[in-house]
Amino acid sequence: MAEQVFSTAHKNVAEPERWVSVVAGAALAAYGLKMRSIPGLVIGAIGGALIHRGATGHCMVYESMGVTTAAEEDDGSNVSIPYGKGVRVEKSVTINAPQEQVYAFWRNFENLPRFMHNLESVEVHDSLRSHWVAKGPAGTTVDWEAEIINEIPHELIGWRSIDGSKVDNAGSVHFTPAADRGTEVKVILRYDPPAGVFGAAVSRILGEDPAVNVQEDLRRLKMLLETGEVATTEGQSAGRK
């Protein structure tokens, strides 16, 4: 069975990403094997798979997801991440507030860091362009320029990173009235993590799951808009030091 898989293997990983795979794979393998535990073995195995992926240019995860990064395609569409590439996250929340109010709060991008924990700041340049700074791995920051590419007042805001950004990403947020329940907010994010889809899987294993982050961000948005504050216990008393 394994032979069959290898015999049909073809290149579906782009050259720079193959090098990232080999380096990240070696680091993970070394880290994992040092742990001398079952999770360590798993991480080591992932590292091994990354090395294999980098060396052969074939990624089984990409294949199973129907993704290829080997041939750069340019479909000339209006998004910075072409369809079928990158990581896609979709999450919803219902907020007990009028559609106009929820929309207006989001439309002022400088409000976003108040509920998006991985976002440090957003600086709005003009009605379309803004500068985003996010927390990266291990205390670093990543920043990019974004522009609004689609907007229907009170209903939809769509944005994408501008060509040449370090982190290619695009997103949209949809506001729909929900009868007597307020407003349904649906966020769709698509981004191209530095080590490809496989890098996203690794970051998930190491505890940074973008889907969970987005869900928790939306929960904080709901708290903020419904109550004016975000529930917390940070800084409270306890009997432990």
Partner: protein
Amino acid sequence: MKAVCWWGKTEVRVVDVPDPKILNPHDAIVRVTLTAICGSDLHLYDGYVPTMMRGDILGHEFMGEIVEVGAEVKNLSVGDRVIVPFPICCGRCWFCKEGLWSLCDNTNPNAWMNESLMGYATAGLYGYSHMYGGYAGGQAQYVRVPFADVNPLKIPDGLPDEKVLFLTDIFPTGYMAAENCDIKPGDVVAVWGCGPVGQFAIQSAWMLGAGRVIAIDRFPERLRLAQADGRTEVLDYAEIDDVYTQLRDLTGGRGPDRCIDAVGMEAHGTFIDAFMDRVKQAMKLQFDRAHVLRQALHCCRKGGTVSIPGVYAGFIDKIPVGTAFGKGLTLKMGQTHVQKYTRPLLARIERGEIDPSFVISHRVTLDDAPEMYRTFRDKEDHCTKVVMRPE
């Protein structure tokens, strides 16, 4: 300040911890004047509720005096005397506005933990595990009260602490259990468990028009307390062969119309299923022991209601769903929507319809907490309810 902290399974300690601070604009700080140990604290004590951490401050039944308010708290002033309901609620979300306070959307900072277990997250609770928000509890000299603009209820002068403290949990819990029964005039109501919640369920069943109330327990002092009103009938299940047969005989072969399980997940039983539950719980194959719930489902009359104020936290085996389905039973349960009941029940206390202090058996200070947790858990020394003064 002094605080009662969870220190591991069957260990609580009185620890000196930093005083609480205002963390959010709707917070207040309360100086605790009276607090209590709840039967549900014993589930924490016995280690059956997951996500507790060493050093967590316990306690969700407390009252006291406002000593500080956050910028957005306009309706309370320093010096006000308040009782504080055990669920922390925002008062603004759809659930709070529907009166489903304990299902509040906005007060659990660890909602994801709760959600992974239950599908959707519920309100934060004081001193009741990190899954329920990890909030510091009220068995302490001071406590931080979030959303103080909607949760606490001001208490008029002249009503002593002991008469109103139980508005924080067990009186509304017993009352909601009876209300969930949808009692019709003349109904026979059977109540399993004559601990404090059972006692309030019994008295509430009478308030709501029950024709007869039958209380089931095995501790003579608790049965005596239930009988003290002169009209509640009692069954000592340690003395009789079969609760089902007794209840059937007492109700002309019909069975009680409404059954209340005021025991919950650490039920004691004398049958084989109770023994199997104990083994499985000890082996962590299931969280909860459910002997009483099974018995209530079996004993309830056709088309009746089984109401569950007793706390269940996880999974249980061998619940006779076929019995509940076959007899067309209605099951109602859940954490109490305390804020919905505090005003009407305070009014009943003010009118003299009930003096909730009748359940208190032990009056101690915070320093006695470690010993009192053990005494209450083992039901030694006729212990039914412990209240503690922080000073």
